[in-house]
């Protein structure tokens, strides 16, 4: 096992590991910007069916990383458990949290990460979204004690789809990659249908 490395482990909080975090963040921010994710219209077009860039980019990224992780793990280079331990499942807060983040995304036009990119490129709506995320996070921490057991409800620990399906991680990654490729064709079809319907509506509105 070579990875994850001890030198750059995020728990270490050494000057080297913190510098590593800045470098990774810089690459992350640059790619998000170049994908167009610093612009609200590019992001929200996903939810109006006119341009499904978010779905394509995110699912491609997910498949790329999943294939990479499972290949490194199968080759004995990566200790998968060292990484997956950081992503436990808490079912109920993740359901409610997912709905809230999705709703907040289409209202603000960004997700918490892309709003940082938008703010860094001068977009005021991005900066206001960043402010909102800070306020919301603090607000939840304030009210969380009053919500009783909710925050830790549906605690299933480190639970993974390949365990539930009894598949090796690499096999599941290959299946998901195939599903992704097929779904991208479906996404193109949806875009065509939506944009045709919009064009028809627009021409009907201008014809006397």
């Amino acid at each position: 096992m070579i990875f994850p490395t001890d030198a750059l482990a995020q728990e270490a909080l050494t000057p080297l590991s913190l510098a590593g975090a800045v470098v990774i963040g810089t690459a992350f921010g640059f790619v998000l910007e170049r994908a167009g994710f610093g612009r609200a219209q590019v992001l929200v077009a996903q939810f109006y069916g006119t341009r499904m860039t978010v779905y394509r980019t995110m699912f491609t990224a997910l498949v790329t990383a999943a294939l990479g992780v499972s290949l490194l793990s199968a080759a004995g280079l990566l200790d998968l458990k060292e990484v997956t331990i950081n992503y436990p499942t808490f079912l109920w807060p993740m359901i409610v949290g997912g709905l809230l983040v999705g709703a907040g995304f289409v209202i603000s036009g960004y997700c918490p990460g892309t709003s940082v990119v938008a703010a860094a490129s001068g977009k005021l709506d991005g900066a206001f979204t960043v402010l909102g995320v800070v306020l919301g996070a603090v607000l939840y921490a304030e009210v969380q004690p009053a919500l009783g057991a909710f925050h830790d409800s549906g605690k299933l620990g480190s639970l993974h789809l390949y365990d539930l399906l009894h598949l090796p991680p690499l096999a599941l990654a290959l299946v998901v990659a195939a599903v992704a490729a097929l779904s991208f064709k479906g996404a193109t079809r949806i875009e065509q249908l939506v944009n045709q319907a919009r064009a028809a509506k627009a021409s009907a509105a201008t014809t006397p």
Binding site: P4, A9, Q10, L13, S17, G20, A21, G25, T26, A27, F28, G29, L32, E33, R34, G36, G38, F47, Y48, T60, A61, L62, T64, V69, L78, Y87, P88, T89, F90, P93, M94, L99, L100, V101, G102, A103, F105, V106, S108, C111, P112, T114, V117, A118, S121, L124, D125, V130, G132, G136, A137, V138, L139, Q144, P145, H151, L156, L159, P169, A173
Partner: protein, 171 residues
């Protein structure tokens, strides 16, 4: 050479690049990508400056200061990088410039109000779910965490469910 600000990377190329950044994060640091955790730390740091006793009395905030100053945290440094990378990307693509992105018939003030409001919903949701679109859906999803996939589905459900009601800010 003239820059075309509307020119974006092909989504599949951007996806592979994003996936490789995520893979590097896992392999080198043991953790993925994220953002909302850093936002929380910034809020906690601001509150701590105003009222240290209050921060110690709120369980989630107390957990954030357990190991020292709230800003001494890997995600805070990663997000500093995101600011730098986002700035460099915008600078080199011709998309750098002060503006408020919105539809042609929608005002600046209501757009900024929706940005704060939507951001606050995401701040609440991401604290509940232990992560946002990057920290949970993408970083947990690529590891096939069951909770991350549930979050991912609910994220799209919430977006599609509400899109109709806020469509006027984009048209």
């Amino acid at each position: 050479m003239a820059k075309d600000p509307s020119k974006l990377w092909n989504p599949y190329v951007a996806g592979v690049a994003l996936g490789l950044v995520l893979l590097a994060a896992y392999a080198l640091t043991g953790k993925g990508l994220g953002a909302s955790g850093a936002s929380f730390r910034v809020g906690v740091a601001a509150l701590q400056a105003a009222s240290p006793a209050h921060v110690e009395a709120v369980p989630l905030m107390a957990a954030a200061i357990e190991d020292g100053p709230p800003l001494r945290y890997w995600l805070v440094f990663q997000v500093l990088g995101v600011i730098l990378g986002g700035f460099l990307g915008a600078l080199t693509s011709g998309r750098l410039g002060q503006e408020t992105l919105r539809g042609p018939t929608f005002g600046v003030a209501p757009r900024l109000a929706l940005a704060v409001g939507g951001g606050a919903l995401m701040g609440v949701g991401a604290q509940m779910a232990r992560g946002c679109a990057s920290g949970q859906a993408l970083s947990g999803g690529a590891l096939f965490s069951a909770g991350a996939w549930v979050f991912f589905l609910c994220f799209f459900g919430g977006g599609y469910g509400l899109a109709y009601f806020v469509r006027r800010q984009w048209t």
